[in-house]
């Protein structure tokens, strides 16, 4: 699951609510954000092409003036406010970001204001559209010489890869607006491994329970929830071999009993202030 979450220097950040609880937000990775942007850009292009074709189809010969005005304004709104309008909504995300499981958040934890959303998206003008239109204009006039192309590419390169060069993955727009983009995953509550019903069937030797810490317990949880027979039997065999426990043919039952025992033991120790991170912990 989120294996790297505890690793220092990862993408987890403190985010303390007014109630004083640290939610530990996970920042969006560069790849996820690039993917979200590509999706949005594609949707915008498809809308633009679709509407244009439709208008051409309706008024093939003489483009009526009203349609032309509508097209111009529509293009303007699409280009400048697609991102802002969606990010001002309850999800704080454009369709692309929603698909990627991302959301825009004010860095200081306060309300995400409309001004911040407008600021972060207006900056897109110099990050993406300026170099693009610059290149396009040069190409259209047939004067896109090597130097100008190189310049435009360097310019957009600096801005496009800007998020990779700071530890909070901030775009220039995020920098100016005081926002960042975080992952908001939807997970459902998985079933309880230990189970409400008491059902202890196996006893385990003391040294087997004493051998492991929280890290091993949570790896075990991962294996049990994944329910892959090969992994389950491998882990069960390893534990049995290590402590000389005879096999009773039910690897999964063996492991879940072991999990329950170990979990109870570690939890109890934790209550007494003895937290054991892993088996290497004394």
């Amino acid at each position: 699951m989120k294996r790297r979450s505890k690793r220092p220097g990862g993408l987890r950040r403190r985010f303390v609510t007014p109630e004083g609880v640290d939610l530990q937000l996970e920042l969006a990775s560069g790849g996820a954000r690039a993917g979200a942007f590509v999706i949005d850009a594609l949707i915008m292009i498809v809308i633009l092409i679709g509407v244009t074709l439709f208008l051409l189809y309706i008024g093939v010969q003489e483009m009526p003036e009203a349609l032309g005005i509508l097209w111009l304004i529509g293009f303007f709104l699409l280009r400048n406010f697609w991102f802002s309008l969606f990010e001002m909504g309850r999800r704080g995300a454009t369709p692309g970001k929603r698909l990627a499981g991302l959301r825009v958040v004010a860095r200081d934890g306060s309300r995400l204001t409309g001004a911040a959303v407008v600021a972060r998206n207006a900056m897109r003008e110099i990050e993406v559209f300026l170099p693009l239109s610059f290149l396009g204009m040069q190409a259209a006039q047939g004067v896109a010489n090597t130097f100008l192309t190189l310049f435009a590419l360097t310019w957009s390169g600096i801005f496009l890869f800007f998020p990779l060069f700071n530890r909070d993955r901030l775009r220039v727009g995020d920098l100016v607006a005081g926002t960042w983009v975080v992952e908001v995953r939807k997970t459902t509550l998985s079933y309880d491994l230990v189970g409400a019903a008491p059902r202890q069937r196996r006893k385990f030797p003391e040294e087997a329970l004493a051998a492991y810490g929280i890290y091993e317990l949570q790896r075990l949880e991962h294996v049990l929830r994944a329910e892959q027979p090969i992994a389950v039997s491998t882990v069960a065999a390893t534990i049995r071999d290590k402590f000389g426990i005879p096999s009773d043919g039910d690897d999964y039952g063996f492991l879940s009993d072991f999990y329950a025992e170990l979990c109870a033991r570690l939890e109890q120790n934790m209550l007494f202030g003895r937290k054991r991170e892993s088996k290497h912990d004394a």
């Binding site: 699951m1 989120k2 609510t17 007014p18 109630e19 609880v21 939610l23 003036e65 005005i69 111009l72 293009f75 303007f76 400048n80 001002m88 309850r90 704080g92 958040v105 004010a106 934890g109 306060s110 309300r111 995400l112 409309g114 001004a115 911040a116 407008v118 600021a119 207006a122 003008e125 110099i126 300026l130 920098l175 100016v176 607006a177 005081g178 908001v184 995953r185 459902t188 509550l189 998985s190 309880d192 491994l193 230990v194 189970g195 409400a196 008491p198 059902r199 202890q200 929280i214 949570q218 949880e221 329950a260 025992e261 979990c263 109870a264 033991r265 570690l266 939890e267 934790m270 209550l271």
Partner: protein, 332 residues
């Protein structure tokens, strides 16, 4: 025989109903709006949120069930953003923008705004005298496409016609094009402020130069007042909008260059929000200017009336922005 009853299990038994309830409320909030919740649900929401949040803290301290922790974490986060992170309804936001946000943002930019207005005026005056003294300057300042024949070699008659004759072709379309183009420039000059405001200042100065050069051409043929009337009807709104956009760009650049006592990052964020609000307003202004240009300038050909409309528009904007009002102390 009772087995090991771990905390996670006890915990789930006690609170799982609350979590599920909160999850369904959050789900509905994310999909629809605040109005989709009943009064009871609305009263329940903060309680459930706090319960879940305290569940999270307790679970972090006592439970080793990783999936439970992950679930509580994401549920609390989603609920937090629905409770704290979301803005008021769109209608109210628009209302607030026009009632206080925009004017107070412009007021906050008054220093930059006066600088931009002065810069534009000075460049215009400079270009005016340059072109009067040597018409060759005109070609260096105004691109041929934009001048469209309105250069020093044009006859007075031709120039007069450009002021009073309705142009042929779809003018409303042209006005719309100008609006979107100008609005794009306004957004640009905001964003370019990030480069320490230098491009923004250049843009404003250049705009003033072109203005002065064109005025000089018309004035040299005795058409100065007529041009002024022609320009004023929408120009007062448009030029003010350009100045505000420039001012908003400058604000960002200045915050970046001279953050004062705040950290550079904080200064930039504060400046960015004020500037973005002002910049968004200029898009509205340029829309108004586009309407004035597309409709007013063609149908109204009387100089006095043109000046009256332009002057009224300018006075209206200034009153709207700078009229002291209650609650103006807490600028955006």
């Amino acid at each position: 025989m009772s087995g090991p009853l771990v905390n996670a299990t006890r915990f789930r038994l006690e609170h799982a109903d609350d979590w599920a309830k909160l999850e369904s409320l959050v789900e509905r909030l994310e999909k629809k709006s605040l109005r989709s919740l009943s009064d009871d649900d609305l009263l329940d929401l903060p309680r459930l949120y706090r319960t879940t949040l305290s569940s999270l803290s307790v679970a972090r301290d006592t439970s080793l069930d990783r999936s439970l922790l992950a679930y509580l974490e994401q549920l609390s986060t989603r609920a937090y953003f629905q409770l704290y992170g979301v803005q008021t309804s769109p209608g109210r936001q628009v209302l607030r923008f026009f009632a206080t946000g925009w004017p107070s943002a412009v007021r906050a930019l008054w220093r930059e705004l006066s600088f931009c207005a002065a810069l534009m005026t000075l460049s215009a005056v400079a270009a005016y005298f340059l072109v009067l003294s040597d018409p060759e300057w005109f070609y260096g300042i105004v691109p041929g496409g934009l001048a469209d024949g309105r250069d020093p070699s044009a006859s007075a008659d031709f120039l007069r016609r450009t002021l009073y004759d309705g142009a042929d072709g779809p003018l409303a379309l042209f006005a719309t094009f100008l609006f979107t183009h100008n609005a794009q420039i306004a957004i640009f000059s905001f964003a370019l402020g990030f480069a320490l405001a230098v491009p923004t200042v250049l843009l404003i100065g250049y705009n003033g130069l072109m203005l002065g050069a064109i005025v000089a051409v018309f004035a040299s043929k005795g058409l100065g007042p007529n041009l002024a009337a022609w320009l004023m009807i929408h120009g007062t709104t448009e030029l003010l909008a350009i100045c505000i956009a420039g001012a908003s760009g400058m604000r960002i650049g200045l915050a970046l260059a001279f953050p004062g006592t705040a950290t550079r990052m904080d200064a930039m964020v504060a400046a960015g929000r004020v500037a973005a609000t002002a910049m968004l307003g200029t898009v509205v202004m340029l829309g108004v200017a586009g309407i004035l240009e597309g409709i007013g300038r063609q149908t109204i050909t009387d100089d006095g009336l043109r000046m009256l409309i332009g002057g009224t528009a300018l006075a209206g904007w200034l009153v709207y922005f700078f009229w002291p009002r209650r609650g103006s102390g807490q600028a955006a």
